[in-house]
Subunit: 243 residues, 2 copies
DNA sequence: ATTCCTTTGTGTTAGACTTACACAAACAAA
DNA sequence: TTTGTTTGTGTAAGTCTAACACAAAGGAAT
């Protein structure tokens, strides 16, 4: 957000509006987010979530997709509005209201698009994020993670993170990575299969034992829709700065 | 939103930002929302959700509480951010991005504050809303109702709508009104009591039969927190204009 | 080939929870 | 005292969940 030297310093009679996009992907079986190193003050040299200004006649989601494509070169990814962050002092220069989104990028397509030095952009495991992040981006990230976790339990969001063809063990591992706990194999397989969103494909092997069957995600319902639930609903509390 | 003739026509190099607040209350055992009749074009004479501009250095939630207090005179009400609506053409004059909130006002305090003609402001049952609403306010309302319904099932939001002291039959009726279906008395009472958020008070009578016991809401957990769940989670789909 | 090891996939059972409904309790009115 | 109405509690059948056992399918070692 607020990229470039002295960007956005029209006489501030109105707040500026940006979109910030938390981009999730699975890498080495671990949930990662895309961060950029800021080139200009404030927070010069500090890692930040990708984002930018909303153009005057641009839909919010369009702005988010534009940012997403600029950094990753990808379209057709799952994108969902997260929350709007508007603490008056979240940007030290001027008032900036940020509509945050989160995106889920498939494991087989998480390339990075190229106008950045490779040292200025990178995927970070959600379990080892940089100590310092720009603005309130730690809060945004925490909020995105909470939402992702809670929606995992009653939607098919997880399928958006895997490649098109996958095995049940892979799917289970994805859930476990994100939820941070182990699930019972039998009960997990049963639930997924009863949900009726899997289409079988062929056969594949894996480390050691019996090869796992391949599946494709095929749902009559819209992507991300309600499908099943694993356990108690989790509370999604509003971010601290807004309380 | 955009009240007053030609308000907000600074040279539009940035989108304008407003907050709109869906104010819910229970009236005659039926869920109602507060609407205002617009005094100026566009949508002159059409009913609309209360809202207004976010001041340059004002927190979003503060702006929402300000609107809420202007129209109802109330503070200390439950308020939660809903969603941000930003379709480029949602206001015919200029680009306006609206951060929508919803508020829950107790049944014993839903007075209306007074700078309006009584014919210009009013509570409407959510089951008989005006045909026409200004801007995309029908969509916002629908979204607020969906969110309220879905959160009823795993939070104590319903308690925010009743007066401080209430009976279990009243609580059950509230749930039924909002969810639009009847619940089993025995199972309902059990769930609520097991949640441990009720403090007994005295005794009260009611139409006909045995008088119902009085309770107060008393939760060690924060208001609106997770407490229990009634049934399957409901899907909360994003509003159509954002897809 | 046979055995062993590892991982996938399915079955099963005890316990928890849900649902539906019955019945007792408390009051008003006749 | 009886009848009607509504509150409050009990309970039994059915469903779902959690935990774990076991069979199946491959590779590797002997």
């Amino acid at each position: 957000m607020l990229e470039g030297p002295d960007a956005a310093f029209a006489p501030p009679d109105r707040p500026a509006v940006t979109v910030d996009v938390v981009i999730f992907t699975l890498q080495e079986r671990d949930l990662h987010v895309l961060l950029l190193k800021r080139r200009y003050p404030p927070y010069q040299g500090v890692w930040a979530i990708p984002g930018g200004f909303v153009k005057l006649h641009e839909a919010l989601e369009h702005a988010a997709r534009r940012e997403l494509e600029e950094e990753t070169g990808l379209h057709d990814v799952y994108l969902e509005q997260l929350y709007t962050f508007g603490a008056p002092d979240r940007d030290p220069r001027t008032r900036v209201i940020s509509v945050a989104y989160f995106a889920l990028v498939r494991a087989d397509q998480h390339q990075i698009n190229g106008s950045h030095e490779s040292s200025d952009i990178g995927w970070f495991s959600t379990r080892s994020l940089p100590q310092a992040l720009a603005f309130d981006h730690h809060e945004i990230l925490r909020f995105a993670l909470d939402r992702l976790r809670s929606k995992l339990e009653y939607t098919t969001l997880a399928f958006q993170l895997l490649s098109e063809v996958f095995t049940l063990p892979e799917l289970k591992q994805t859930y476990e990575q994100i939820l941070g706990e182990t699930l019972d194999r039998g009960n997990f397989y049963r639930k997924i299969k009863e949900a009726g969103v899997l289409e079988p494909v062929g056969g594949q092997r894996e480390s050691g034992g019996r090869p796992a069957a391949l599946y494709r995600f095929c749902s009559s319902r819209r992507e991300g829709d309600f499908v099943f639930r694993w356990r108690e609903a989790r509370l999604e509390s509003p971010p601290e700065s807004e309380r």
